[in-house]
């Protein structure tokens, strides 16, 4: 039997390490393509400044990349170390995209990143450009396969339960990789990375412009970033809407939590703009509603409805009752493989197997589950509403703010007024953390909204964890927190230092170069000829 404290600690550890890993991933996804774009301009026009840009931003890229790779190692193994039952139960399906990610994507990215850094003088321009593109394609392909894997947890497709091997098995590889959720999620998430790259470059360039340093490089980088950013942000918002549409159909409880929907209502449904959801009373306090908006947003029509938790919880009760015989049949099949009666019973109740597992948390022998235990399990199907509701609104608000920022940035930059808009430059610097926070908020919505399941409506979280002791879990969680804290301090320090230092001095005869005062340099303020 699982110790719930261990399950909770395992969740904390996975959430901490995954959210931390995803501080570095979006910048890799976006900046790699921006590096490729800069180098493309260099190769096609031959202007040295674009090579300087690619090399300077490439240096910052690497500081970020190192931690992304390091923390990604943890993720590859953490399913096995901490989610042992999950791994054996769905590994037949879930393991495949992870392995393909290594074969097809991570190898490409990691092999060529070394050449990108060390190979400037060893290859022809076109070859080096191709290498940079390989890094960008590799990192984005990597995100594709990881998100296919994640989508299986959200909206499992292409799999069935095999009572002979007692686990989920693949039935259709194409359904797994072409699931609607995976497609919408991949585009939404990877483009969110492009937004991150764009704001990172724009913000740091603005910082240089404010200090009159490296202005030529900063101006060009800024313009490229805001153009890249405005397109990307529009894409993120469009695909976010699509993901909400697809995900809302696949995961009604997540949608209800995002919208604070305790009671089902007739169409057209109002949208809760602001509310304080109470998990205990199952109501929203002090809500501000926009009439009709929810039907439009989530069903793209005026007469569409989505169920509230009142209906969903009732459905869960029925599905738990229907799932109990499936679990009983499996217990029989475990000791008597091939038992025909048990197999028939399993087939009849198969679709609610996961709900049967849900009640096993309260009643190990599911046949003895009481009505009270069944309603407790049904109540568990409602995720924690308030954090999901607010993370979702925070993400959307940040997305809209970034869109406004990029639109203004493009206007100022194309009119060549950007250096006079000092308030906007200062604002650009302040925008740097926003896309990182928005990505994290998005993951909170996705993963908290999936609870209480690791695989939606198939496998409860409480069953999925490894059977460790509390002591082991405290040890490992403390270890990760300690190590990761040291890493982020070192990373931020090196990043800030590299930004302050700025691009390296130019090669001889480079007329595009403008020298500004360098922080900590003894010649600061002296007139230079």
């Amino acid at each position: 039997m699982h110790d719930i404290t261990v399950v909770d600690l395992s969740r904390w550890q996975f959430a901490t390490t995954a959210l931390y890993h995803f501080l570095f991933v979006p910048l890799t996804l976006g900046l790699s393509f921006m590096l490729a774009a800069m180098e493309t301009v260099y190769v096609t026009t031959g202007k040295q400044i674009y090579r300087d840009m690619a090399q300077f931003w490439g240096k910052l890229f690497l500081i970020n990349f190192a931690l992304g790779v390091a923390t990604g190692l943890t993720m590859e193994f953490e399913f096995g170390t901490n989610w042992s039952f999950y791994s054996s139960f769905v590994g037949d399906i879930f393991g495949a995209p992870l392995a393909i990610e290594g074969l097809m994507a991570f190898f490409l990215e990691a092999t060529f990143v070394g050449l990108m850094v060390f190979g400037w003088d060893r290859m022809r321009r076109g070859q080096h450009l191709a290498v940079t593109y390989m890094v960008a394609f590799g990192s984005n392909l990597s995100a594709l396969w990881i998100l296919i894997a994640n989508s299986f947890m959200q909206a499992p497709e292409g799999a069935h339960f095999n009572p002979v091997t007692m686990r989920m098995e693949l039935s259709s590889f194409s359904q797994l990789i072409f699931s609607h959720d995976a497609q919408a999620k991949f585009v939404h998430t990877s483009i969110a990375g492009y937004v991150t790259g764009a704001i990172f470059v724009a913000g740091i360039s603005a910082w240089y412009m404010l200090r009159n340093r490296h202005t030529e490089l900063a101006r060009r980088s800024f313009r490229m970033a805001v153009l890249f950013g405005v397109l990307s942000t529009a894409g993120v918002i469009t695909l976010g809407d699509a993901l909400g549409f697809v995900g809302g159909q696949a995961q009604p409880t997540k949608l209800a939590a995002m919208e604070g929907l305790w009671k089902s209502e007739p169409a057209p449904m109002p949208f809760n703009l602001v509310a304080f959801p109470s998990q205990k009373d199952q109501v929203n306090h002090a809500d501000v509603q926009v009439p009709y908006a929810l039907s439009l947003l989530v069903t793209h029509s005026m007469d569409g409805t989505v169920p509230g938790f009142d209906k969903l919880e009732q459905q869960a009760v029925e599905r738990i009752r229907n799932g109990i015989p499936a679990v009983e049949a499996l217990q029989t099949l475990s000791s008597k493989p091939g038992d025909a009666d048990a197999l028939a019973q399993f087939r009849a109740h198969e679709k609610d197997l996961g709900f049967g597992f849900l009640v096993q948390r309260y009643s190990e022998d599911v046949s003895k589950a009481t009505d009270a235990e069944i309603s407790k399990a049904a109540r568990d199907t409602i995720p924690q509403v308030a954090p999901i509701f607010w993370s979702f609104r925070a993400m959307v608000a940040m997305g809209l703010a970034m869109l406004a920022f990029f639109v203004l940035g493009v206007i100022y930059s194309l009119r060549n007024r950007i250096e006079r808009k000092r308030w906007f430059l200062k604002f650009s610097v302040l925008m740097i953390p926003v896309p990182f926070l928005a990505s994290e908020a998005g993951w909170l919505v996705a993963e908290l909204g999936r609870q209480p399941w690791t695989v939606y409506q198939l496998l409860p979280t409480w069953m999925s964890a490894s059977t460790h002791s509390v002591g082991y879990m405290i040890f490992s969680l403390a270890g990760f927190v300690g190590l990761y804290t040291m890493f982020i301090i070192a990373e931020m320090y090196l990043m800030v230092r590299a930004i302050r230092k700025g691009p390296e001095p130019p090669h001889a005869g480079d007329s595009d170069w403008d020298s500004g005062p360098v922080l900590g340099n003894s010649v600061t303020g002296q007139a230079e000829g």
């Binding site: 096995g80 037949d92 399906i93 392995a99």
Partner: protein, 377 residues
């Protein structure tokens, strides 16, 4: 044999290929980390050693990540049971391994001697510890690991952390560390000159002798050990759980496959030959040849261990009947088929572009270049 059984065996072989890739490529980089403080006495010497593998360590490390992913995809029950059972050891492995990317990227970014020395120690730890753990994990496979399953295949590990660090496991860990030091040393010889070349040559010779002694000692030890025998069960190519077989323990049973198929003795012979000829090649200053011989030694060692254990992958010492084998822990036929397809396309592609990367960055790494190049580690 059913076609499913054929795919199971193919994936068992592919697992071997991935382990060899991991041992050769990651092991080489880790060996450089292990010997860094000895081979390089000055900061510049250490930087030269680091920059020899600088352009490649990142790509090489993916063998480790891919190894994890491939075990997950092809043998999910192994991935789930072994990595959770070996929890503290896995943490040691992961924590030391995640020091490595930072050691490379961050070490030379600041001029402070204390900063650099700290990262050099980090590189030492992240070179030595994972290789010892890697070997020790294999050692534990021969002795069996205490775990069992509940009715729905929830695994529970009943041993202690220290139980995994027993004397035979440590011997295997030292063997793996020796081979890693050998590969790291010849890599430094390949790309280095002068004093670091001579120091790593010494280390290569010592480590190859050590590896031969440890490999031989391990063989004798295993001979006196109780091995596992699968006496009854559904067999190859039949979908099953680990609850349906009969397993017995017999003295010297880990040699049964060799006795049954004499040709398999070529694998340990290959291991010894690689080490011995590697020793001679380093003596003759043929470091490139020594590198390839070291790779052959790894194939021999990993092949020997894999063949000795076959069809077992993770024997259970507490409930031997629930031991995990190639037949009861693999993925379904459909998954194995898809994954064979992906591996057949991408593994050759990886080998091809990795070779190209090494070709582009070929030649000696000079101290002047490292000192002058802003991109150097």
């Amino acid at each position: 044999m059913e076609i499913y059984g054929v795919f199971q065996v193919i994936w068992w072989l592919l697992l071997g290929v991935l382990l060899v890739g991991l041992a050769v490529m990651v092991g080489m980089d880790m060996g450089v980390g292990t010997i860094l403080r000895y081979v390089g006495r000055t900061d510049l010497e250490r930087r030269v050693a680091l920059n020899i593998i600088g352009p490649h360590w990142e790509g090489n490390q993916v063998w480790f990540v891919l190894g994890g992913g491939a075990v997950f995809a092809a043998f999910p029950l192994i991935y789930a049971t072994a990595f959770s059972g070996f929890y503290v050891v896995m943490l040691l492995l992961l924590w030391s391994m995640i020091l490595r990317p930072l050691g490379f990227e961050y070490r030379s970014k600041l001029p402070s001697a204390a900063w650099r020395s700290t990262w050099d120690w980090a590189l030492f730890v992240s070179g030595l510890v994972p290789m010892v753990v890697f070997g020790a994990a294999f050692g534990n496979l021969f002795e069996g690991v205490p775990f069992h399953f509940s009715w729905n295949l929830t695994s529970t590990y009943t041993g202690s952390f220290l139980g995994l660090l027993n004397s035979f496991a440590i011997l295997c860990g030292l063997l793996s560390a020796s081979l890693s030091v050998f590969m790291g040393s010849v890599a430094v010889m390949n790309g280095g000159e002068g004093v670091i070349y001579e120091r790593s040559r010494t280390l290569a010779r010592v480590s190859s002798v050590l590896a031969m002694v440890l490999f031989a000692a391990g063989g004798f030890w295993v001979h006196s050990m109780q091995g596992y025998v699968l006496t009854n069960g559904p067999g190859a190519g039949v979908p099953q759980t680990p609850m349906q077989q009969v397993v017995t323990l017999t003295d010297g049973a880990w040699f049964a496959n060799f006795h049954a198929h004499g040709l398999l003795w070529l694998l340990p012979a290959l291991g010894f030959a690689g080490m011995l000829l590697g020793l001679l090649a380093t003596g003759a200053r043929r470091s490139h040849m020594a590198w390839w011989l070291g790779a052959l030694a790894w194939i021999g060692v990993i092949g020997t261990a894999g063949v000795a254990l076959f069809p077992f992958l993770l024997p259970s010492s507490s409930v031997p009947a629930q031991s995990l084998t190639v037949w009861n822990s693999s993925s379904s036929q459909l998954t194995l088929t898809w994954m064979v397809g992906f591996a057949l396309v991408f593994v050759p592609l990886i080998v091809w572009y990795t070779s190209w990367a090494f070709y582009v960055m070929r030649g000696k790494v000079s101290a002047e270049h490292v000192a002058a190049d802003e991109h150097s580690y």
